[in-house]
């Protein structure tokens, strides 16, 4: 049975303090209500737990290592452990949630899976598990993201998923989510919508956080073994919608000894107008069915986010994180596109690990927070960088060209 930290759970209506809830049109009510009624009994059933943990172990490749990054530790000046979610099958933490939700869909008798995706990691994870469990899968992806994450589009199609380009609005994650929700409205009874992050109407943020909490359960166990402690001094994770951060924080929320740090995508800069730093720039409102912080105009129109990383390019953030920030239970550090690219270089050269662009924000955040030599810091290495090689090549080529011009 998964360890459940009561401080990480919303109330029965899905509220973390003032954030959360289910602001959905009537057309979605039966679907969401069905999930709300069933998710905890299913999650807690012996059969689910057995199937879930077996797949996590044999298919996803869990537990993922907690690796003491010696070179990086020296550079930062503290003991840095990397939680190697990048070693999960399909290359990111996303699979934890998808395995759980797809099993749940089967329990609920659903015949089809839909998903939205930004960077494509959640889409690939969904396509993968659907291939395994023989469920038809439709993934909604912004056309802008399809262009910048081509290998993942190819993977999804190879796995048998239908990838539907979304041309509306920002052509990225926000509108992919809108289209997935609309599809769900139009095909309610047989479809399960696997949301990829701790966003959306209750019970999704809680459901996804619970499924990802395996990350912090393992961290606690591994630290006990490797360091003889039950909690680190710091956990650092990047946060777009916030699922990897929720999973890495979960067990340590409100424990009074672990400083939780979320790295937000600042894009061109927090005050540049081209940012995805929702905790820094957002105001309370509703996005995708939950009350949280989001970037919006004074008239309440949702603004487009900007980040070089498709996975963090989202104008909202999960309600759990909005609440953690409000209660000072976590701190959020903005990291610009440029700084994230430095993080990519740093980790690649220091440890021989090419991180995902999203994850690189967390690496950079290590250099922006106050750390002491005796601190024991866990960075959630949420994903690997294969999908970003085109972006890296392009960026570093430009950088070299600039250097050569000087």
């Amino acid at each position: 049975m998964t360890h459940l930290n009561p401080k990480a759970l919303p109330n029965e209506r899905g509220y973390y303090g003032p954030f959360g809830g289910a602001y959905i049109p009537e057309m979605l009510y039966p679907n969401v209500e069905e999930l709300k009624t069933n998710y905890i009994p299913i999650l807690e059933s012996e059969k689910f737990q057995k199937d879930f943990h077996k797949l996590l172990k044999d298919y996803v490749g869990r537990p993922t290592p907690l690796y003491l990054a010696g070179n990086l530790s020296e550079m930062v000046g503290a003991k840095i452990y990397l939680k190697r979610e990048d070693l999960c099958h399909t290359g990111a933490h996303k699979l934890n949630n998808v395995v759980g939700q797809a099993l749940m869909a089967k329990h609920l008798g659903k015949k089809r899976i839909i998903a939205e995706t930004g960077a494509g990691q959640h889409g690939v994870a969904s396509a993968t598990v659907c291939a395994l469990l023989r469920l038809p899968c439709t993934v909604f992806m912004g056309s802008k993201d399809m262009a910048r994450q081509k290998p993942n589009v190819m993977r999804m199609r190879m796995l048998g998923a239908e990838v539907i380009p979304v041309e509306s609005g920002s052509k990225s994650l926000k509108d992919a989510t809108n289209e997935a929700i609309r599809y769900w409205i139009n095909n309610p009874s047989e479809t399960h919508y696997i949301i990829g992050s701790t966003i959306g109407p209750h019970p999704y943020p809680d459901l996804v956080a619970r499924l990802q909490s395996v990350i912090s359960d393992e961290i606690a166990e591994q630290l006990q073994r490797q360091e003889g402690i039950d909690a680190p001094t710091h956990v650092v994770a990047c946060a777009g919608g916030g699922s990897n951060a929720a999973g890495a924080f979960f067990r340590f929320i409100g424990n009074g000894k672990t400083i939780l740090v979320g790295a937000e995508a600042a894009g061109e800069g927090v005050d540049s107008g081209l940012t995805a730093a929702t905790i820094a720039k957002g105001t309370p409102g509703i996005i995708h069915g939950c009350k949280t912080l989001l970037m919006q105009t004074l008239d309440g129109q949702v603004e487009e986010a900007h980040s070089i990383s498709a996975g963090l390019d989202y104008p909202g953030i999960g309600p759990m994180h909005a609440w953690l920030a409000k209660e000072n239970l976590a701190q959020f550090v903005p990291v610009t596109d440029k700084e994230a690219m430095e993080g990519v270089k740093t980790l690649t050269r220091a440890e021989g690990i090419i991180p995902a662009l999203e994850t690189a924000h967390a690496i950079t955040a290590l250099f922006k927070i106050n750390l002491k030599k005796e601190d024991i810091v866990v960075v959630n290495l949420s994903g690997r960088g294969d999908k970003d090689l085109d972006t890296y090549q392009e960026y570093f080529k430009n950088e070299e060209a600039q250097l050569n011009a000087v």
Binding site: E26, P30, R182, N186, P284, D299, V302
Partner: protein, 258 residues
């Protein structure tokens, strides 16, 4: 009673309502549309407050919202436009939109201004029922506004009864499980659904929306329920025709009313 309630007390059958997005196709379109609708004998209007992320709506309404926002439509501007024509037309007006822009405008101020500028009621599809009861019902009462709830073919009888008890104008019957503008013609499923609703003997009149676009769908809604709301089909006409008056004439022709 507000003007909508007065209308519904007087007219029980064959009600016709139109939805349009304020600020679409041009920023000052609202008055022209209201004038054309009143002249054509439309019973009441839903004025859409455009939102960037309208989850319940299909591409037609979504695109009209994007265009209206680009044209500069906002809630304060809509209230200004309504204030200017206050008293000039008799057709009851409802405001329809998503909760977030209302929250940002200021909830109580929104209700106050809506009532002051002549609205009879408000449709907020993403306002949860329990939150309505706890925080909003008293505001609706204070400003003499009607809240309009939606029901769909998936809504349980128990929930429909609760919605009926909370309603003081009409129930908005979503014709099928779909976003707006998705439906072709009404089949057996819709007719059975209308019959099921009729058999429940609810106190509120029921008006069907989503999919009303021609003579057949209008007649089926009128036969099965108390009225019909036409949205996407009207927006298409507004887009295709030079003036709202022309659009109205074309729509009425399609609906077999002219």
């Amino acid at each position: 009673m507000n003007p909508l309630q007065t209308l519904l007390a007087r007219k029980k059958k064959n009600l016709l309502s139109l939805f349009f997005t304020a600020g679409f196709p041009y920023l000052e379109s609202a008055e022209d549309i209201i004038a054309a609708a009143e002249e054509a004998g439309v019973d009441f209007l839903e004025v859409g407050m455009p939102y960037s992320d309208p989850l319940a709506d299909g591409p037609v309404i979504q695109q009209s919202s994007t265009k209206a926002i680009a044209n500069g439509m906002t809630i304060p501007l809509l209230f200004e436009q309504m204030a200017k024509i206050r008293g000039k037309y008799e057709i009851p007006l409802l405001l329809m939109g998503y909760l977030n822009p209302v929250l940002q405008y200021g909830t109580e101020k929104f209700f106050e201004k809506a009532a002051e500028n002549g609205a009879s009621g408000i449709i907020l599809p993403d306002l949860p029922m329990d939150e309505y009861q706890e925080e909003y019902e008293q505001l609706f009462q204070k400003y003499n506004l009607s809240m309009i709830f939606l029901v769909t073919p998936q809504t349980s009888d128990e929930r429909i009864k609760k919605i009926d008890s909370l309603s003081n104008a009409f129930i908005y019957v979503v014709s099928s499980a779909a976003t707006t503008g998705k439906q072709q013609d009404f089949g057996q499923a819709q007719q059975d659904y209308f019959k099921r609703l009729q058999a429940m003997n609810l106190k509120s009149p029921m008006i069907a929306g989503f999919g009303i676009h021609n003579h057949q769908t209008l007649q089926q809604a009128w036969e099965g329920l108390n009225g019909a709301i036409c949205g996407s089909a009207f927006l298409k006409k507004l887009e295709q025709n030079p003036t709202p008056k022309d659009a109205m004439a074309m729509l009425m022709k399609d609906l077999g009313l002219q």
